[in-house]
């Protein structure tokens, strides 16, 4: 009970555990342990249980507003884009926006608050968890959430006449990979930000252009604007939009492997960047 020795460790002074080896019954810990990831995520789940209403509200309402404003507003001027109605076109594009907002923002703000204000990460790193596990678990949770929130604009789109497709379910894995990359991007930004106010630079100078020049609201085609098309190739969100649209309209083809590959590479690069940047700040 309380303080007496458990069966997992020797107790009394003068009877130390074998030094440098785990005490009897204590296992060796490895790298990227599922138990550590689950532990960090269990905290996220507990917090989500408290604030899921507000989180979900903003993640769903924001893309819906875009969808209504652009889809229904501009939709009266623009009848069809490519071979679908404009509202359907925007509904699929806004999926990427929803994923971006529900991954990059939590990546930036949660990380900064938990690290700087609440010192949660200090507490977690004093336990047998390393920075790689901490970042990976936090980002896994964010991207799981983002992948589900990515479905919201499609549901709204269905209400406005978007035909339901089995391919729409691919939004979940697409959203997961994209969300993972952008959540890691957010973590890396939080790690280099001096103050939380600095995030506004990133929001206005990086994230806003990214989601505007991603084929969300207007098509980016090599034929009409080659410069923009080339730029879009470097925008992960563009590849996300392309994938989502092709999956939703049943147009998936070999070219989508390229989009998927870009997203996966982006996610992996950002993951390593987030781990290294936050590690530099968390470990003195």
């Amino acid at each position: 009970m309380s303080f007496e020795t458990g069966t997992t460790r020797p107790s009394v002074a003068g009877e130390p555990a074998a030094v440098g080896e785990p005490a009897a019954g204590v296992r060796r810990v490895g790298r990227l342990e599922p138990a550590a990831l689950a532990g960090v995520m269990s905290r996220d789940v507990a917090i989500f249980g408290r604030n899921w209403r507000s989180t979900t509200f903003s993640s769903i309402v924001q893309p819906t507003v875009y969808l209504l404003a652009f889809g229904l507003g501009l939709g009266t001027l623009i009848a069809r884009v490519q071979h679908v109605s404009y509202v359907q076109y925007v509904a699929t594009g806004v999926v990427a926006t929803a994923i971006l907002f529900s991954s990059a923002f939590p990546g930036m703000f949660n990380t900064f608050v938990r690290w700087q204000f609440q010192r949660t990460y200090d507490a977690i790193l004093a336990a047998p968890v390393d920075v790689e596990e901490l970042v990976t678990a936090e980002v896994l949770w964010i991207s799981l959430r983002a992948s589900v929130y990515g479905l919201a604009p499609l549901l709204v789109g269905i209400a406005f006449g978007l035909p339901p497709e089995v391919g729409m379910l691919l939004v979940v894995p697409i959203g997961f990979v994209t969300g993972f990359g952008f959540a890691c991007f957010g973590v890396a930004i939080a790690a280099v930000a001096k103050t939380i106010d600095n995030f506004s630079y990133i929001t206005s100078a990086v994230l806003t252009p990214l989601f505007l020049v991603a084929g969300t609201f207007f098509p980016i085609s090599k034929a009409t604007n080659e410069g923009l098309w080339v730029a879009a190739q470097f925008n992960p969100l563009y590849h996300c939009v392309e994938l989502v649209r092709n999956a939703t309209f049943g147009d998936l083809g070999p070219g989508d492997l390229y989009h998927a590959a870009v997203l996966i590479v982006f996610a992996l690069l950002m993951w390593r960047l987030a781990v290294s940047q936050l590690g530099r700040r968390l470990i003195d």
Binding site: V12, P16, A17, G20, A123, P128
Partner: protein, 353 residues
């Protein structure tokens, strides 16, 4: 809290029955009672009797030549520290002495620039994760999740410390009992008092029954009653054979809880021993306190330094150390036993709480 322990057999008396523990506790209690009565060190010695002089394979913590710099500031400057298993070891020093940095290096949350560190025999920082699995940490600053309940927080850390699924609930219940927070299990942290939060921090660090516990300034900023509760808790840990390394800048805390005290100043250990040993070595046996107006005390201080007496201002008095050696030429004043504060000030030149 004390009552709760006693009913489960954690009262001090319950420990007097068995073997080595019995002797250790017995001596420890004796030391506390007789500390100022000039008992010879070896008779009141505690587990510190076994303090090895060189590196010991059984040391819970071993640091040698450790240096940690932050830019131009050297926070830890050639630290040598050996904490034997099974003792409560106090790291006493003023604010800024490098205690917290030392603590952070033991969890590899700060990496030493020079020197070698091992914790529970694991070399740092390479094997720090394994060491962290087997030790508990109670931080100086409250880093609890304010939105979560006590039970949720303990559950998260039961995961993080790899408590097996089948034992998790029991571990959480046990930790809640240790911290006397059973009735608050479902309360969110934001609604807890400062003392409760601190107890929850301790419970969190003990969820996996660590064999080593690091306590960084465990009672800083707490009111006296809460401090007493935590002292009882810490004493219970030590009594159960857990190695405790506690940093503090409270003299009384070190004096009452620690078997061995290391005095830290400007990033290094400047003295080490049982509180009694430190007092005798650095403040002598008795102290003469001379009272007077500030001017009189000033003059007395000058006279003391002319005579080669070590002295310090102590509130409204001038405390002259090693007064046992005076032979008739002593000024008039009140004789009292030397204490750890005298030794501390003599060592560091700094007043402390």
């Amino acid at each position: 809290m004390i009552g709760a322990w006693a009913t489960r057999g954690y009262g001090r008396e319950s420990h007097i029955r068995s073997g080595a523990m019995d002797r250790r506790i017995g001596r420890s209690r004796l030391r506390r009672r007789l500390q100022f009565d000039l008992v010879k060190p070896e008779t009141l010695n505690t587990a510190a009797a076994g303090v090895p002089t060189g590196p010991s394979p059984s040391a819970a913590i071993s640091m040698s030549g450790v240096v940690k710099r932050f830019g131009p500031i050297t926070a830890v400057d050639g630290l040598d520290l050996e904490v034997p298993s099974g003792v409560c070891f106090g790291l006493l020093g003023p604010n800024g002495a490098g205690k917290s940095t030392t603590m952070r290096m033991l969890t590899a949350q700060a990496l030493a620039d020079e020197g070698e560190i091992s914790v529970l025999g694991y070399p740092m920082p390479q094997d720090s994760k394994q060491a962290r699995l087997e030790m508990g940490v109670v931080p100086q600053l409250d880093n609890l999740d304010v939105e979560l309940t006590c039970r949720q927080i303990l559950s998260v850390f039961a995961w993080l410390y790899r408590v097996p699924r089948s034992e998790r609930e029991d571990a959480i219940d046990r930790a809640l009992r240790i911290a006397n927070l059973v009735p608050r299990a479902g309360t969110i942290v934001r609604e807890l008092s400062g003392g409760m939060r601190r107890r929850l921090l301790v419970a969190r660090g003990l969820i996996h029954r660590p064999r080593l516990v690091l306590l960084d300034e465990p009672t800083v900023g707490l009111d006296p009653q809460v401090r007493q509760e935590l002292w009882t808790l810490i004493d219970g840990l030590r009594a159960a054979g857990t190695t405790v390394l506690m940093s503090t800048h409270y003299i009384e805390e070190a004096e009452r809880l620690a078997d061995t005290v290391a005095v830290m100043s400007a990033g290094r250990i400047i003295a080490q021993g049982t509180p009694g040993e430190l007092v005798r070595a650095h403040a002598g046996e008795r102290v003469l306190e001379v009272f007077g107006t500030p001017t009189q005390l000033e003059q007395m201080s000058e006279q003391a330094s002319r005579n080669g007496w070590a002295s310090r201002r102590s509130g409204p008095a001038l405390a002259i150390l090693r007064a046992e050696s005076f032979d008739g030429d002593a000024p008039r004043g009140i004789m009292r036993p030397a204490n750890l504060e005298d030794a501390f000030v003599a060592l560091t030149g700094e007043e402390i709480e």
